[in-house]
Structures are given as C-alpha cells and as structure tokens.
C-alpha cells in the first residue's frame, strides 16, 4: 500500500515537473523576475554610487550630489561621495566647479577637468579639498570605484574619496 | 553545556582582548606602512596551509586519558572539566578564529573587539549546534576534506592579498 502510494506520488511529481517546464517561459520566469525586481534590493552603492541627495543647477547643466558611500567592513575601496554632471553637451570644454558636498552652504572641494572631443577617451581632472571632509586627488581618472572621473553616456561621473571619520 | 559554552565565551573574550592589545601596540608610524598587514596576511595564509595539511600531527597513546578533563567522573569533576574544556576550545587557533583576531586587532576600541568576538561566538554556536547534534563534522571524511580544501583556497587568497600589499609598498611606497 505504502509502495503504491509512493509510486503514485512520484509519478504525480514527475508530471507536475513537466507542467512546470511548460510554465517556465510562459509565466514562471517572468513571475520570479518580478518578485526579485520588487523585493527592494538595490545594487551595492560601491558600484551604483549611492542614492541621489540633491540637484544643483549650474550654467546650463546640473550637478547631482549623492549620499556618501562607506565600504562594508572588509570591502575594498575607500569611502567616497559621487557627483554627476549632466548633460555632457551643456558642459564647457573645461569645467571648474566648487562643490558643497555636505549641504552646509560652504564649498568643500574644487574640481577641474577637461572634456575631450573623443567620447571614448578617458577623462583626467583634479580634485582639491578645501577642508578635511574630502581628499585631494591631483590626477583623477577612471582608476577605481572610489576614486573616479568617467563618462557614462550623457553624464560625467565624479567620485571623490572622503576622509574617514 | 551551559558551563562549557560560558567558559568558551570567556576564552573568546580573552583572545579578543589580546588581539586588540596587539593591534593597539602597533606604532602609529607603522600605520603609514602597510607591510605589517601584509605580513599578518602571509602568516595567516601559512597557518591555514598548515592546518589544511594536517600539521601538527599528534596521536594519542594507548593510555591517552586526560588528567585535566574527566567528563565521566563525579559531578564536581564534570563541572570543572566542562569549564576547562570550554575555555581551551575558546582559544583554539583555527583559521577563522585567527582571521577574526586580525579583524579585532584593527578595531579602534576594545569594546568593539569584545562585541565583535561575542557575535563571532554566537555565530559559531549557531553554526556548530546542528553539527554537534548530528556528529557530521567528525564522522564525514568528505566534510573534513572539503574544509581542508577550503582552508587551502582561502590561504591562497590571504597570501595573494599579502603579496599585493607588499608589491604596492615596494613600487609606490
């Protein structure tokens, strides 16, 4: 009796697996993807740059200041704060900007960089810290996730390393 | 079991204090150089390799009855044995324990090191509880083999990290 019951259950599960296989491309795959997408996960800020805090308007372009990103306990990389300049077409050939990073009304860094005509050429610039919040970087380029000046599409992404608290 | 775990926690706390004191004793001047961290990584890698390869090898003799730990004796001896066994296992230098020690040495405050090791202790209790119940770790040669191989792989990681730090120190200063 038990053997027969197990056998019935086994075949039922096998047929159910076949039915699941038919559902995978039709409903299941998309359903699981939707659950994952709405589960509230976000990409690690060391990669994504963190969450946008505020946007400042400058001469024809805007700067978006992001929240400081601190690496996890053993994660490689330094703490940094991201600033995004966009759109690239509205930027002058040389950008010099004094940026208030922490929103206290006082500029914390002065950044300078040139925009090459070749969209694929790497960017180079300099970051001068005006106080102890940020670190100065004489030649900033696309070196690492936490010390970065790079062009992505229509934006210039700048990541300024912060001093540890 | 309560006595054993309490004594084990005491062992963890004692190691946390020693590790933090060792970290605090590192001169400030050394903080600008990363070679001590490189050295620690390399030593940790060596310890992991030694453990993975089964060194030191000790075999108990036929009369290998402990005079210190006697859990099959009357109650008073059992209690003291549990305390001693707990404390000794609490300062057992297994690779994860050493890695946690390195981390504790880097923390700014002694309290942080103690909390870190308290959490580490909780993690090991949770991790090992089912293993103790099932006796898996000691009985399964496959599990032991995987653990040793993992230790070797992690040793490679620590060795690689240490060598890269040394290389950066040498080339960039």
């Amino acid at each position: 009796m038990r053997v027969r019951l197990l056998s019935i259950l086994g075949y039922t599960a096998a047929v159910a697996t076949l039915l699941v296989a038919l559902l995978v491309p039709l409903k299941l795959m998309g359903g699981i993807a939707a659950v994952v997408a709405h589960a509230g996960f976000r990409i690690d800020p060391m990669y994504s740059g963190g969450t946008a805090l505020r946007t400042l308007q400058s001469a024809g372009y805007k700067l978006t200041i992001y929240a400081p990103v601190y690496p996890h306990r053993l994660q490689r990389g330094k703490p940094f704060q991201q600033v995004v300049f966009e759109p690239v077409q509205a930027l002058p050939a040389q950008v010099t900007e004094a940026i208030d990073m922490n929103g206290d009304g006082q500029p914390d860094v002065r950044v300078t960089f040139r925009i090459p005509s070749d969209a694929n050429a790497p960017l180079h610039g300099s970051v001068v810290a005006l106080n102890s919040i940020c670190q100065s970087v004489p030649d900033i380029s696309n070196n690492s996730f936490s010390e970065l000046l790079a062009r992505t599409g229509d934006r210039i992404v700048l990541r300024i390393p912060l001093n540890l608290k | 079991m309560g006595l054993f775990l309490t004594a084990r926690l005491m062992g963890y706390m004692a190691f946390a204090v020693v590790a933090w004191l060792a970290g605090a004793a590192v001169p400030r001047a050394w903080e600008t150089h990363r070679w001590p961290m490189a050295l620690v990584n390399l030593l940790l890698a060596a310890a992991m390799v030694a453990w993975a390869l089964g060194w030191p090898r000790r075999k108990c003799g036929k009369a290998g009855r402990s005079t210190l730990v006697q859990i099959d004796q009357p109650v008073r001896s059992r209690r003291s044995s549990a305390l001693l066994l707990g404390f000794l296992t609490g300062i057992n230098f297994c690779p994860p324990f050493l890695a946690a020690g390195v981390r504790a040495a880097q923390l700014n405050h002694l309290a942080a090191a103690l909390v870190f090791f308290a959490v580490f202790f909780l993690g090991t209790v949770v991790w090992f509880a089912p293993m103790a119940a099932l006796g898996l770790v000691r009985r399964s040669s496959a599990v032991v083999a995987v653990a040793r191989m993992t230790a070797l792989l992690l040793a490679l990681w620590y060795a690689g990290t240490g060598l890269m730090i040394l290389a950066r120190e040498a080339f960039h200063g």
């Binding site: 197990l6 086994g10 976000r42 | -």
Partner: protein, 388 residues
C-alpha cells in the same frame, strides 16, 4: 522493443511511433522559435528554422534509438561553442571590446551571469544589496538583468535540478567538446577527492564574497571570462586576473578534458555545479542502479564525465548528489542496470517511462534556453559569413 545496446544500429521504437512522440516537442519548438521568426533579418529566420529543426531532430533520435547521452552531447557542444560567438559579437557591437571598462560597471551595464547567484545570497540577506555591477531590471544596453536571469535560472532549476549542468549551462559544452576528441583517455587514474573540490571552491567564494562584497569567482576564478568578457586590463592586478582566467581556461576547459575525457571544470572545479547539486535533492528524477542486474563491471564509473558515480554508490544502487543526468552511465551499461528513475517508484520497473518524462521536461528547457542561444550564435555566424 529491441535491446538498444545489442544491435549495431540501436532502435528503441519504430519510426512512426518516434515521430508521433516527437510531435509535442516539435510544437513546443515552434512556439519557442516563433518570436525569432518575427525578428527582422533573413539570418535570424534561417538560424531559427535550422536550430528548431536541429533540436527536434535530436529529440527524435533520442526517442528512436533509446539513447540519451550522444544526442544530448551534440546539442550541448553546439551550445558551448556558439554561445561565445553570439555573446562576443554583441559585446563588440556595443562597446567594441570584450573587456568591461569601469564606466560600464558603474552604469549597471555588466550582463548578469547565473554563476554569481551563490555569491550574492549572504550579502543580500545581510544588507539588501546585490554585490554585482549590473542592473536589477533590463535596460536597452543590458537586457541580461539580475531579475531576469534569476527568474530564468530558478524556473529551469525547479525542473532540471543538477541536470542544469547537462541541459542548460552554456559553458559546459566547451569542455564536453574537447573531452570528446579522442577515443581513449590519456590520463585514466584520477583521485576520488577531486569531485569534492567544487564544494571547497563554493564555500571559499561564498565566504570571501560575503566578507568583501565582491563576486570573487567572477573577479578571480572564472575560466570562461576568456571567451566572454573580463575587467579591462589597466594595471598589474587586472593583468594577473586575466592571466588566471586564461590559465584556468586552458587547463580546465581545453587540456585536461582532452587528456582525461572528463568534464574537469564542471566536475572538479565549478562552484555553481556544487550549488546546483543541492537541488538534486528535491528533483523527482534520478538515475539508479538495479542491483539485481548489475555485475559490478565498473563501466558506468569510467564513463561518467564528472565522477558522479563510484563503486560505493553503485553498491548502494545510486549515483552521487552531483549526478547531472547526462545519461552516459545508462547508455553505456551493457546489462541495463543503470536506469532512469522517478523517486518513490520501483527501480527498474519502467525506466523508459521515467526517461521519457524527464526528457520531455529537460528538452523543453533545453529548447527554450539553449536553443535560443544556439540560434543567436548561428545567426551571428551567418551574418559574418555572408556580410563579412
């Protein structure tokens, strides 16, 4: 029904019966490839038709001959070799290079690979963040989003279990191809403990990834970076990374499979394979050894490409947890002792029924996913041949 192994031209069932039983799979294939036929471009249409016909023909041959392994292998090798063709072509179109610059990582344009999944679990559980420079949702520049790939992987895993490694993975076919070149293995004696290495690699990368919030396997240990994409080489560290990828690919995917006729990367290194093995515990299909027929000749142990069967397991009448249901042992057994099986049922009572139920499910997945990848690669090849 003739014994499939005692005749030189193995026949399990008549042509008419085989064609009839292939019909549902042919309809499924048509359903799966209709979107491909809707895409513009003669190359896409030709590739879709050829691939669809290829998949249906292989399924027909599996039914007609009663054998699984040799037909599945043809599909799998095609998948392994054509995936990089389509993937790399897409990369070259998008960014002109196989290397991933940091700009693409920070903008979430890194395609997500299912092999990252085990490394994401602990960091995601602890911090609700995904330690991977990709996108959660698809974007125009990155259709291989995290959510989509997890949906695909989990859906297929619920059906296949560890059989993902024989019917789903688009990397394993490369080494299966190299392992098939020679008739006899040059190296025949392999340490049993090698099959435990994937578990050690899995444990190591999961622990390290949880500690440093990086996909450690992708950054340091994935051999297939050599034929897909890799972090742009710009300093000593990235140069060493690339060197490790090439070394592992050459050794584990090309040379060792050629010498041993085993899938050495899959069976003796891949941590994702170890992770998938866990799902074998809940999968209803497995392969068993009928002890009333087995004569302990050891042929199944020799033929298994990943050492997922050993004398101890044969004695117990089962395969190990790492069995990917490729069918090599079943097809090689001269006594019909190695059999397809549905858990809960009597071993050896109706193995062909178990095999058919498994094959319909597994081949449906293979056609859906692997078939589309093959069609994409074929379309790229046609474009290169005719357009240059």
């Amino acid at each position: 029904m003739a014994n499939a192994k005692t005749t030189s031209q193995p026949v399990a069932r008549s042509m008419g019966r085989s064609l009839l039983m292939t019909l549902p799979m042919a309809l499924w294939t048509l359903l799966m490839f209709t979107p491909g036929l809707m895409k513009p471009g003669l190359n896409q249409h030709i590739a879709a038709v050829l691939t669809g016909a290829f998949m249906v023909w292989l399924f027909y041959r599996m039914l007609r001959t009663g054998q699984t392994y040799r037909w599945r292998r043809i599909f799998f090798v095609a998948l392994g070799f054509l995936f990089p063709v389509g993937f790399v072509a897409a990369l070259l179109t998008l960014r002109g290079s196989m290397s991933i610059p940091i700009e693409h990582m920070i903008s979430g344009d890194t395609p997500f690979c299912y092999m990252v999944i085990p490394m994401l679990i602990i960091p995601a559980a602890l911090t609700h963040t995904l330690a991977f420079p990709g996108s959660i949702l698809p974007t125009p520049s990155n259709p291989h989003s995290i959510a989509a790939m997890i949906g695909l992987w989990l859906g297929m895993t619920l059906v296949l279990g560890k059989a993902w490694c024989a019917y789903g993975c688009f990397f394993g076919g490369l080494e299966e191809g190299f392992a098939s070149i020679t008739r006899r293995a040059r190296i025949r004696k392999l340490d049993e403990r090698l099959r435990l290495v994937p578990w050690a690699v899995l444990l190591a990368i999961v622990l390290l990834s949880a500690a440093i919030f990086e996909p450690v396997y992708c950054m340091w240990l994935c051999p297939f970076k050599t034929v897909t994409e890799f972090p742009a080489v710009h300093d000593a560290e990235t140069a060493i990374q690339f060197g490790v990828f090439v070394l592992l690919f050459t050794g584990l995917v090309v040379v060792l499979p050629f010498l041993t006729k085993k899938r050495t990367q899959c069976g003796f290194f891949c941590p994702f394979g170890a992770f998938q093995s866990v799902f074998n515990k809940i999968n209803i299909f497995d392969i068993r050894i009928d002890r009333t027929r087995c004569v302990d000749c050891g042929l199944c142990v020799v033929k298994c490409p990943t050492m997922a069967i050993n004398p101890e397991s044969v004695n117990k009448g089962e395969t190990l947890m790492s069995c990917m249901k490729c069918g090599a042992c079943v097809d090689s057994c001269q006594k019909d002792a190695a059999v397809w099986h549905i858990k809960g049922t009597e071993v050896g009572r109706n193995p062909e029924r178990a095999r058919l139920l498994f094959l319909y499910a597994a081949w449906a997945m293979a056609t859906m996913f692997g078939g589309s990848v093959i069609a994409n690669g074929l379309s790229t090849l046609l474009h290169l041949i005719f357009r240059g």
